[in-house]
């Protein structure tokens, strides 16, 4: 089955059209027009060629396509992307059906062709200063990264990637998400409060990663490319503002993996791992002549420690937190749906750290009727990847223990007392050491680490 991808550069960004046996769709990427206009045209071509490939390979597998024909030159980073998919698909296969190798035969057999255009490219060295471009999702990592970057003097430029919200009837069920509505509202308040600009990149390519848009089986496929896509989408801002760094909020647990039943090591968030960040740096190095790199300031911290720092050091930022994917009807009017494993995880973190969930609009989730959302008590495919894979189980156990110690009670806290308290107490020291520890920084330059480490030590010592 053939699959064709056509691309073009538009006044505000890029356009990508794919045709697949009668199904076709046009997706647009829109940047702030002045930023896009100033972006060098050779880089626009690079962005087009690379994004076209990166954003469609998984879709081709979802459609079980045998071949994909692109109207672009061979993308400069095709091998990098294949390496990313290669690593990621073990998790996708295991998550989808317990067979880590499920997608490898199709991936290995997929035939891709490109136009004869030359992909010759010379690095375009930007004039950079000690400044960062930060992705702002309003999740705790991105908020903390912003706080830290500001405190470190990186004068961060903020950009938010808006993937299209869902509003589709999928096999008899209305599937909706409300992320953008809440993000836009938060951004307005954020800009006002901190007197700065949040730049939006409208990313229609986000439609391609979601199976429900195409009436395809539920699958993890589609999520391997997100962070790398964001890195590429950040490039026009890098050149426009002369930023030396692209900052992501990938915490320590992004390196977590598990070994599945057949013995394969699966990474639920490989594209956020330090290993892949090194590869992203390889790409950036090629594009920018070694001038720009990507890093995560929160990489040496576990998720719970990230929350601790955010709530303690930057409460003014913390009040903007939105970690829920807002992908069900409960999120239509609230930025926390209160009905997903992500909300559950953040809820217990807040309770553990003495931060009031109600202050950010997160309702009480301690009732036993919410048990299904907590990975400590149950596991299901409906949970977010990190929760369903079970890799966050101990962190949640520790968070419950801390919450109890802070006096939380009722519902699930009582259930916790009954089933896990003893284990929590027995392992408290181990957990303290594990989840509030400062790990070895992997991608952070020494001069930034020298400023960052004392901040971490100060807050985690509290």
């Amino acid at each position: 089955m053939g699959f064709r991808v056509h691309t073009s550069i538009t006044p505000n960004g890029l356009s990508l059209r794919f045709d697949n046996s009668g199904i076709n769709s046009i997706e647009e990427v829109r940047f702030p027009s002045d930023i896009w206009r100033a972006f060098p045209s050779s880089l626009k071509e690079q962005l087009r060629d690379n994004l076209a490939y990166l954003s469609t390979v998984e879709l081709a597998l979802m459609f079980k396509a045998n071949e994909v024909d692109y109207d672009t030159a061979v993308p400069l980073f095709k091998s990098f992307f294949n390496d990313l998919f290669w690593k990621y698909f073990l998790y996708s296969g295991d998550s989808d059906c317990g067979d880590a190798l499920k997608y490898y035969p199709d991936f290995a057999r997929l035939e891709v062709s490109f136009s004869d255009k030359s992909s010759g490219f010379s690095p375009l060295v930007p004039d950079v200063s000690e400044r960062s471009v930060n992705t702002l999702t309003f999740g705790k990592e991105s908020l903390l990264s912003f706080g830290l970057a500001r405190e470190l003097g990186l004068n961060p430029v903020l950009f938010t990637v808006l993937d299209p919200d869902l509003n589709v009837n999928y096999r008899g069920e209305l599937v909706q998400s409300f992320t953008n509505k809440h993000l836009r509202s938060l951004a307005v308040q954020f800009e006002k409060k901190f007197e700065l600009k949040v730049h939006f990149v409208e990313n229609g390519l986000g439609n391609l990663r979601c199976n429900v848009n195409w009436d395809l089986e539920d699958t993890d496929l589609g999520s391997a490319n997100v962070i790398t896509e964001f890195m590429l989408l950040g490039l026009p801002l890098v050149y426009n503002f002369g930023c030396k760094y692209i900052l992501f909020g990938n915490e320590y647990s992004c390196d977590s993996s598990y070994v599945n039943k057949a013995g394969y090591t699966c990474f639920p968030a490989y594209d956020q791992s330090t290993g892949w960040m090194k590869q992203m740096n390889g790409m950036l190095s090629i594009l920018t002549g070694g001038k720009v790199s990507t890093l995560s300031l929160v990489q040496p911290l576990q998720e719970l420690a990230v929350a601790k720092l955010l709530y303690q050091r930057y409460p003014a930022l913390a009040c903007f937190q939105m970690s829920c994917h807002a992908d069900n009807v409960y999120a239509s009017e609230s930025r926390w749906c209160g009905h997903c494993s992500k909300c559950a995880r953040c809820y217990v973190f807040m309770k553990a750290l003495g931060f009031d969930p109600a202050s950010v609009g997160l309702s009480d989730m301690s009732s036993t009727q919410n048990k299904e959302y907590f990975s400590l008590f149950s596991s299901s495919q409906k949970m977010c990847a990190y929760d369903s894979a079970g890799v966050g189980r101990e962190e949640q156990l520790f968070a419950f223990l801390l919450a109890i110690q802070r006096g939380a009670s009722g519902g699930l806290f009582d259930l916790f007392r009954l089933r896990f308290y003893e284990e929590g107490v027995m392992r408290e020291k181990e957990f303290q050491e594990k989840f509030f520890r400062i790990y070895q920084p992997v991608n952070i330059p020494d001069h930034l680490w020298a400023k960052l480490k004392p901040i971490f030590e100060e807050e985690l010592g509290k």
């Binding site: 190798l101 290995a108 057999r109 035939e111 394969y264 390889g282």
Partner: protein
């Protein structure tokens, strides 16, 4: 038994130095004559002494470094355990040394370059070459031995992802050759972990004003000879580099496996240099010892060879840099792009690393490292193998007489550069008879008697044949060659057999075969400025 130091198809003789990478360029000897290694005449010395006496090796500051001309691996290392392997790499005065360690196993594989060329190569680029070759050369071992992890003392190589893609493409064919093991190999690659030193990899690019000249590797195969001839004719002043890989000399499962390529090529080199007043630069590639299954004492496998041509690209960088050469010329003809589908449904390229697609990937790597100043190309990419032979025999007969396409990996090649007992010799013999070139003039004996039937892929395809012959992809080309030979009046048992069984088919398909095999195909990766000079040459010769 097939020895895998094969070109699998023809133009790249694995085990045969410099194969595939075809270079050319008249030599500027003014500054480098001292660096060209001079060896005693091959015909007057034994293989062992030929190589052990070389001063380059004596001076290498690595205690256990051995001369790679004839492999010093006399008995198998034994298979690696499914555990961690450590790869340590060193930059030394005359090249690089890679050491593999696992438990008590500790073996160094040297890469020896001409000193003046290597020493003038920027340090950062040396590191890039080191880091990338360390990974590239060893990644397939991970699949071969189902290793858990390979740990490098070098930083993340800039082109790791490229190598994973290359290996993945090649696994389809290797797996098929191992009776449907592609998924097994894929699974091993999935589970293989790599760990690198944490230091930031050097960002490196160079800026120099390249000149219109080429660096060609010379293997004495027909593609390398034609490439040299073409480069000279179109004014690329080709610089010749030969990559010498160790000849094998090992007892493997009670059989003494030997090859004699270097001995014969040394003879050819001396004569060639004298006749054309050029010098060939030598690279001694001890990494070749790493690729050969017999050295590990394991079952025969195709695994191990997918990285060779890409390694050569890295080897040639110092030459391009030193001589400001704009082109790196490889001898990958049109049939390198041929593939078939395995029973498992995978697209299998017997020589993917020589395909036009992979040359495109090599160009992306080169572009990055050399700031777009150097481009890899194959001037013969647009013609089929028999057309390459036709151009060589007709236009460059003075070069054709140096042809050595056999891998010389059986005892019958000890004193003759053609073993006369392999499918490669059989294929070339038919080409020569088809094109009116006398095989005896290059020492290739009559192979049209019935006893040689098993070496011709037209009559049978066996696992013992070279990859390209064994896969059946060269069947039609051989059919056409037999047809042309018969028309020229060739005689012999096999011509009789051909007439009986295949003549009718060939006659019926003559036009199709002629079009296919003597056609000038669309050039991929050949810069337009070169193509406009080469195309008329091909057209002129192929219409004769």
């Amino acid at each position: 038994m097939t020895i895998p130091r094969v070109d699998k198809k023809g133009c790249l003789a694995a085990g045969s130095p410099g194969s595939g990478v075809e270079a050319a360029a008249a030599l500027d000897t003014s500054s480098l004559s001292a660096e060209v290694i001079s060896l005693p005449e091959a015909s007057t010395v034994e293989n062992d002494s030929l190589l052990l006496e070389d001063p380059l090796v004596q001076e290498l500051p690595i205690d256990n470094m051995v001369w790679p001309g004839i492999s010093q691996v006399k008995s198998a290392f034994g298979p690696l355990k499914q555990n961690i392997v450590y790869v340590n790499s060193d930059i030394v005065e005359k090249g690089l040394v890679f050491t593999l360690k696992q438990g008590v196993f500790n073996h160094s594989f040297p890469l020896v370059m001409p000193e003046a060329i290597w020493s003038s190569f920027p340090d950062n680029l040396k590191k890039v070459v080191r880091d990338n070759i360390a990974h590239l050369a060893s990644v397939e071992l991970g699949v071969m031995f189902n290793l858990k992890k390979i740990k490098y003392d070098t930083p993340l190589p800039q082109f790791k992802s490229f190598f994973v893609e290359l290996v993945l493409k090649c696994l389809a064919y290797s797996g098929d050759c191992a009776s449907g093991k592609t998924m097994d190999y894929i699974s091993r690659l999935c589970n293989l972990e790599f760990s690198f030193d944490s230091q930031t990899p050097p960002y490196t690019t160079v800026d120099f004003a390249p000149e219109d000249r080429s660096v060609n590797t010379i293997t004495f195969g027909k593609e390398s000879l034609v490439s040299y001839g073409l480069c000279k004719e179109i004014g690329l002043n080709p610089l010749l580099v030969t990559v010498i890989e160790p000849d094998m000399d090992i007892v493997y499962r009670d059989e003494h496996l030997r090859s004699f390529e270097n001995k014969h090529k040394e003879d050819l080199r001396i004569q060639f240099e004298k006749e054309f007043e050029v010098q060939m630069h030598k690279i001694y590639n001890g990494l070749g010892d790493m690729n050969f299954y017999a050295h590990w004492g394991v079952d025969e496998t195709e695994l191990g060879w997918s990285s060779q041509l890409t390694q050569y690209m890295f080897f040639l960088l110092p030459f391009c840099y030193s001589f400001k050469s704009k082109y790196m010329v490889f001898g990958n003809e049109n049939s390198c792009d041929r593939y078939y589908y395995s029973k498992e449904g995978f697209k299998c390229y017997p020589v993917y690393d020589q395909s036009a697609e992979w040359i495109g990937h090599m160009n992306a790597m080169l572009h990055t490292m050399m700031n777009g100043r150097v481009k890899a190309t194959s001037l013969v990419q647009s013609i089929q193998e028999i057309a390459v032979a036709k151009v060589l025999y007709q236009r460059y007969p003075e070069l054709a007489k140096y042809q050595m396409s056999c891998h010389a990996d059986s005892d019958s090649a000890e004193f003759n550069r053609w073993c006369n007992t392999c499918s490669k010799c059989a294929r070339i013999y038919t080409f020569m008879k088809a094109l009116g070139f006398d095989p005896a003039s290059v020492g290739l004996k009559d192979m049209f008697s019935l006893e040689f039937k098993k070496h011709f892929s037209l009559f049978s395809q066996t696992k013992d044949m070279r990859g390209f012959d064994g896969s059946g992809l060269g069947r039609d080309e051989q059919l056409f060659a037999f047809y042309l030979a018969a028309q020229r009046g060739a005689t012999g048992d096999l011509i009789d057999l051909f007439k009986k069984d295949f003549y009718e088919e060939a006659a019926a398909r003559e036009e199709e075969l002629r079009t296919d095999f003597f056609k000038v195909h669309k050039p991929l990766n050949v810069p337009p400025v070169l193509w406009k000079k080469i195309k008329p040459i091909f057209e002129e010769e192929l219409r004769k």
